[in-house]
Amino acid sequence: MERDLALLAPELTLAATAMLMIIAEMFRAARVVLAIGLAGLAAATLLTLPMLSVDATVFGGTYRIDLISGWAKLILLPGTALSMLLVRAEIAGRPREGSVQALVVLVTLGALMLSGAGDMMVVVIGVVLTGLGSFALVAWPRDDAATEAAMKYLVFGAVTGSVMIYGLTFWFGGAGSTLFSELGQLRGQTFVTIAGLIAIIVGLGYKGSLVPFHFWAPDAYQGAPVSIAAYLSVITKAAAFFAFAQVLRDLPRDGGWPLGLALISAATMTYGYLAALVQTNLVRLIAYSSVAQSGYFLMGVVALGVSGFAVPAIVVFAAAYVAMNLGAFAVVMVAGRSLEDLRGLGRSNRWLGVAMVVFVLSLTGIPPLFGFVGKVYLFVAALEAGFLWLAVIGILNSVLALGVYLRMVVPMYRDADAAPTIATAPVLALVLAATAAATLGLGVLAGLLLP
């Protein structure tokens, strides 16, 4: 029991941090709330570092402390800290600022539970914990658009969540246990395997905005504050794919389900980019682009269990995706929500333009940026799993991606005098510098850092 609690130190720290933040919010001390939150995240990150080589489970195997959950913490916790700075920059001094920050930390706690899930019930709790907090975050502005977006998000979440719980009962029935480590018992029971898997795809696919469960994402991102959209687009999504990795690595590869997942992956990336091609609202454009990125994530999931590259691919791509997508959203916060707002920006705000080009090229997957490294791992994993055609579709989609992303870059370098110089708030500049440095530098260093 004591060993279990010691291994859970990062999660417990995070839970305590959230409680402290809520108490501080009662005194309306938004700065204190932010400080507590950042300190708690830093402490949790530091506590994770010595545990990276641990491979253990706690509480009877229901929660895993392993490579996936360790790297998930190292990616999600700093990503959350950057998101909190974005939130601060957007809604500083407005009502309920501290509540928003506390909710962000709580949702991240749910994301960590998803990333370490060793049991069906932990996945359910993780989905609910991330979901409830997210609905409230999206509804924060209290205007019609935000309320409607939150409502859609809630209804979608309720339906997919109940389908997931229903479907998981099949696995429980077939394996006789709710532990994922017992899923091997399902070997030979193809129908039960597929039924439970559909449930998982519905529940986690909704969190990770896979086609055809992506419909909520553009509306929710558009209705929510930009910083919240940025947060949801990276943290809960990455957590969903970490959870996929935890669940599916134990599932027997019966019934050809990897092929089904590969088809969903191909559909997601293609549909996301095609839809992004016709958007004029910048937030919606990035929303559809992050739908497409989910398709790339799924390539790693497809290769789980047969390719040694699958888990590293998901981890590296998640790190790259968190850095570059947060960065792109930070640029939107400086510039504005419409494609028109980008016009001439690269000339009037030189460094902002450079940062945006870095993010966009990384999202496209141009070497030597971090996004490219992540995609190389994903392609290699897919190839090793025997899905050459999926890798080819992934590469073909990079042309569409370039079309999508050039729509952002090209206006930035036209019409020199159209845009005024915008003063970037110091907090935003900090986030931009951190994400751009990660996108640029980690791509080169990735080979040295990873086993």
Binding site: K152, V155, L274
Partner: protein, 605 residues
Amino acid sequence: MIWLAFTLLAPLGAALAVFALRRAPEGFALAGAALGLAGALGLFAGAAGGAEISAALPFLPDLPIRLVAGPLTATLALVVATVAAMVLTYAVGYMARDPERPRFFGTMLMFVTAMQLLVLSGDWITLLAAWEMIGFASYLLIGFWHGRKGVPGAAMRAFLYTRTADLGLYLAAFLLIGVAGTSEISATLSTTGTPALIAGLLLLFAAMGKSAQVPMQDWLMRAMAGPTPVSALLHSATLVAAGAILLIRTAPMLPGGALLAIGLVGGITAVVTGLMALASKDLKRLLAASTASQYGLMLIAVGAGVPIAALLHLIAHAAIKSALFLGAGVFQHDRESIDLDTLAGAGRARPGIFAGFAVAALALAGLPPLAAFYSKDAILAAALDSPSAAWLLPLALAGSVLTGAYMGRALKVLWSGAAETPHDKVPLMAVGMSVLVALAATLGFVFKPLEAMLGAHLAEPGWVVPVMGLAVGLAGLALGGLLAPARLLGRLLVPARNGFPLAGGMDAIVVRPAMAIADACERFEQHLLALVLAMGRLNLRIGDRAQSTDRDTIDRAIFGLVDRTIALGTRARRLQSGFIHREMALTAAGIALVTGVLLAAPLYF
């Protein structure tokens, strides 16, 4: 190792210094180019001495960055460094009055770095990175004068065309890595059978984009929008050369089918773009079309199985074409135009520059003892000996006649007409150009030792091929000098001038279908939305009906309370607006779809 560092880091360091300090860009550019040239000379000397210099830097696990300076790559690095140094010298004079010189020289140096990285790369991942970098840098350079009309469009077009073709390189690289299990280029060249054929065709596709082969030749003509030194650099030894270099380096792997395809693409390009050059109305477009045509000749050599001939022609062409562009730049400088009608007589006004231009032009036409005489002979001999001589030789000969014809035409136009005295001296431009002209004239004499160094032995030419080559060169010059293009081309003139719009149909093949699919998806989603909205409205109408019944009957009884309820109901209705129904319907449809996919997938497994 130290020479490798010089070759790559000198231009890179100079570029970074220019971008960071934003002053004295000329000094940094010349120093960077000189040091880079010294490094390349060191590499070449090492390779000539039989020592292959290579380095492996840690990058991805099992996929280190490899740099290799063997005989072939060291030679190419030297060509790139030489042309870059001369072009930058010229550019110091050419750009003297441009306010944005730091950006210009910084980007040029970046471009040179990327090109050296491409040439020296020993693994596919580094090659891909360098390939992307030269694409991006060339986009910036072609669009350098972005304020002028049509320039951003030209840069964009160049980028999109080459980018589409890049897909071929990505696919080929991943295929080769997948088959060979390593990213080292030399190790992947032992691939055989179907994978080699597919990879060869994919590489050809990539090379067609970068080297502007038919039907992707259009972007090169429009890429003339950049400053003249940019054209000189891009067209001679760098951007356009990347495609041919790729094929020359992978030639040992290519099976017969891929070789035939390469030869045919090259041959068709040599003829089609040769006609375009002859029909062209301005000097830079003429030279641009000529570039595509010469690279077509190189592809013929690769297709005939003699990549060494292609390499020799690439080297000769690098010196010749950069000299021609630099000359054209001086004439443009004088007359503020590149229109051939306006340029009439421009050569007479500057006899020195014109002499250099003429030497380079005659060299390209293949007159002995100038450089391209030897390399073109090698190509003709290769075409004659190849198993598909019936296809390749006529195309190669036609391409050579056209080369003579458009060069003859350019010389005639520049010389005939009224000369005006030029208003200034151009010493730096003349220095850069004269070195290149000297190389264009004399490079032919080093080809023999170069062949020995590369370990390749071209067959001793008999008398047939040189005579044939000389005859077509002279015939072309005579035709171009004596007859107007309208007489020569007849009805072909207008389509050739417009760049053979049917052949250059990339827009129709790639851009329009992609947009059409995107539109169709958008429409589909709108239809879906309309359908679901209609369902929602129906529901609301039923609700309204019920509500009004309620109002009619109960309202009278319980006044205030019901009014309040109705007010609440209106607020709720705005929230619902049919959208929640849509979410439900979409969720159900999505679950059904996923179930279908997962259940159906095993049937085809």
